[in-house]
Symmetry: C2
Subunit: 437 residues, 2 copies
């Protein structure tokens, strides 16, 4: 098999065989095919897509370029959640502990933030000492002991995906449905789980701008999970508004702890700014619990999730896993500097450009533009208003937080153009659009 | 400017600016942009094309990545010809000497064969000792002295094109109109010529399968030449039949010498098998001569070309340039082995699959599949019949020539499937379809 002929075949919109995909991906992983041929193939896939069979074969090859975690020593059903990413999306930190506190097992291998969306690992690493680099043996051991454990991708897991993802990032080939599906699902299938809840986001801060496109992505991801006989459902949720009160790593951890302590935080409009994060975490937890077969209805699962959250059992799990992963929660750093951004006109908060909010986060170093960028853990943005809120000129819209105020001016400028105020009241913002099974 | 953003822009079908094209191409040439980003951009260009302005900017950047030959010391109009390539296409070796013998100047920088089409350099290098690697100073000096000179691309000329072409070859990005145009024209514009005759081929052995597509390519090439204020015309000629009696390097040189000696070679059907090569060479020579302004009509230019060919003056020029470039014409090697391929049914020779004939040439090592392949100078194929000829079962169709008969069987198999015999007489094969100015 000649690499250039395989590229040409995909370029000419012909379906690649399982063997061709395997040959190309494994040879690339072994450095027998150079980067420049892989990037040409990736761009051809960007333009011509992949069939279901091709995407399944790509996922399988990436998965088997490394190991599948042996979770056989963990009793019963293992379940995880994957979100396609957004701004302020911090539910993993709450739902892992909730589901663990409900007596189930959540072995979670997470990623770092890239572009305008955040990553669970970066959030956890804002906790001083928190070690996300555990061996797979320790990962299994901790999951068994606590019920959940958060680690980063190790070099044993999907090395092909790791190498290909780094290349996609610098060759404008990230935004391809089959490549996204294979990358996500190869890593999830490597966790040794039995079921998966997908949080597929749509809106201005999501990869998929419309609910329709999010549905397509959800179905493509679920097709792959089903080809592995995994139980899977998708929650289609909105990223037309940042989730909760904060974005930014330490600030998001703070919000999660507040929620697990059953606190609320009222906005000027009288809304609890923690409500969306809490509700989405509970809904996703409920679907995870229900997927395991522990409950006979989603309502029952939701009630169980709510109970362990309100009882403080979830917080206890979170504190336990922080301690086991060497994180000193009581030393969580808080930002020293801040600047407020006010409305200059009155009306209703009509819409957010959530991607711009994410880009302001990158300016503040709360996120990264390229893999090498260093995160400033205390940097972030506080959201004071929500879509539909009535606004007067002078009302607080955002607070920019951080330790290094010299980034504030350009973040301010970006944020200034990230929302619209209209005279007409907009239609209500719906957090969860639907659930696909 | 970020390379990944420029790739993304082209991927999203937006027009790149002159500055973006220049930045990307020159940074790549200086090794500041890696191969994997260039190949992703090339694939995006393959899919989304380039505007005229982009193609002109790409040509200009590739041209100015190196030097333009200083031909100012050569008196008067300098003219060259470029063919888009075919099987048995050997006209350069005849028209260079004709136009030089007519008192004009043809500074010719040629390429090697790749894929199923042949290259002028490989043909010339079948003459023992012939040195195509001359300095640009010597190139100008010889053109001035003899009227024509044949050299290969030097490292001073379009280094960007050289580097990009090698990458296209292994990333399935050769077949892109704007990339082809920029590659051809940057090299031609580097020759320091005043005018250019393009031989744009269509048919089963050409890059462009239809005359319509050849016309499009011709117009795109001419647009670039005109942006440099060069005089340019295009001859649209057929590659639905291999040109002349032979393909293969030494065999083609032999055919050219025979033609320059005014010899003919009658086929079984009574046709002169040298006629097409002679006629296309004369037509192209006439257009080159007329472009210089030396004559008042194409007919007058054709008569002049015919006169210097028939007088032996062109042969004299060819012998002169061989001597100056250290080629020993009298030692031209001839193949030692041969095998004939006969028709198994009677009828009319209806069509050739000329690309298959070219591939048979590669099997015989008369051409190369990859740049590193070594050429066998004596290998080649002899054509005994032409489209429309009446054939009896047992008639000679091809003779395979070479020194290494162990390649013959698979070339035979390929050739066996490269022609069709029908009971109905096909329409006449027209060599020159039209001339575009």
């Amino acid at each position: 098999m000649l690499p250039a002929e395989i590229i040409k075949k995909k370029r000419n919109k012909l379906e690649l065989t399982k063997e061709e995909i395997e040959f190309f991906i494994l040879s690339y992983t072994r450095h027998q095919i150079p980067d420049y041929q892989m990037s040409a193939l990736l761009m051809a896939i960007y333009f011509n897509g992949m069939s279901n069979a091709e995407t399944v074969a790509l996922t399988r090859t990436m998965l088997h370029s490394g190991v599948v975690v042996d979770t056989s020593s963990i009793p019963g059903f293992k379940v995880d959640k994957h979100s396609t990413g957004g701004v302020g999306d911090k539910t993993s930190l709450i739902l892992g502990p909730i589901v663990a506190a409900a007596g189930l097992y959540v072995p979670m291998i997470s990623g770092r933030g890239l572009g305008h969306t955040g990553g669970t690992l970066d959030k956890l690493e804002s906790i001083p000492g928190f070690n996300t680099q555990q061996t797979l043996e320790r990962f299994v051991e901790l999951t068994k002991k606590i019920g959940t454990c958060f680690i980063g991708q190790t070099k044993e897991i999907c090395p092909a995906d790791k190498k290909i993802y780094a290349l996609r990032d610098v060759t404008a080939t990230v935004e391809s449905l089959p490549l996204i599906c294979a990358s996500i699902m190869s890593k999830k299938m490597a966790e040794g789980i039995d079921g998966l809840v997908l949080d597929v986001k749509f809106g201005s801060g999501a990869f998929m701008k419309t609910a329709d496109d999010a549905r397509k992505l959800a179905n493509a991801l679920m097709d792959i999970a089903k080809s592995y006989n995994k139980k899977v459902i998708s929650v289609i949720s909105s990223m037309n508004q940042p989730l909760g009160r904060f974005s930014g790593n330490a600030l998001e951890v703070f919000e999660c702890i507040e929620i697990m302590k059953n606190k609320s935080f009222r906005s000027a409009a009288g809304k609890d700014l923690y409500a969306d994060t809490r509700e989405l975490s509970l809904q996703l937890s409920a679907h995870m619990i229900h997927l395991t077969g522990k409950t006979t209805s989603i309502d029952e699962a939701y009630a169980l999730a709510k109970k362990v959250l309100e009882s403080g059992a979830a917080l206890k799990k979170f504190e336990e896993l922080c301690a086991e992963q060497s994180g000193n929660l009581s030393a969580l750093p808080m930002p020293k500097e801040k600047v407020d951004l006010h409305a200059t006109v009155g009306g209703f908060l009509a819409s957010y450009d959530v991607e711009k909010i994410g880009l302001a986060g990158i300016i503040l170093r709360a996120g990264r533009m390229i893999t090498e960028d260093k995160i400033h853990p205390t940097s972030g943005i506080e959201f004071h208003v929500q879509i539909g809120d009535s606004i007067k000129a002078g009302d607080l819209i955002y607070t920019i937080h951080g330790d290094e105020s010299h980034h504030f001016a350009s973040a301010y400028q970006m944020l200034h153009n990230s929302f619209e105020i209209s005279l007409q009241k907009p239609s209500e913002h719906v957090l969860i659009k639907e659930v696909l099974g």
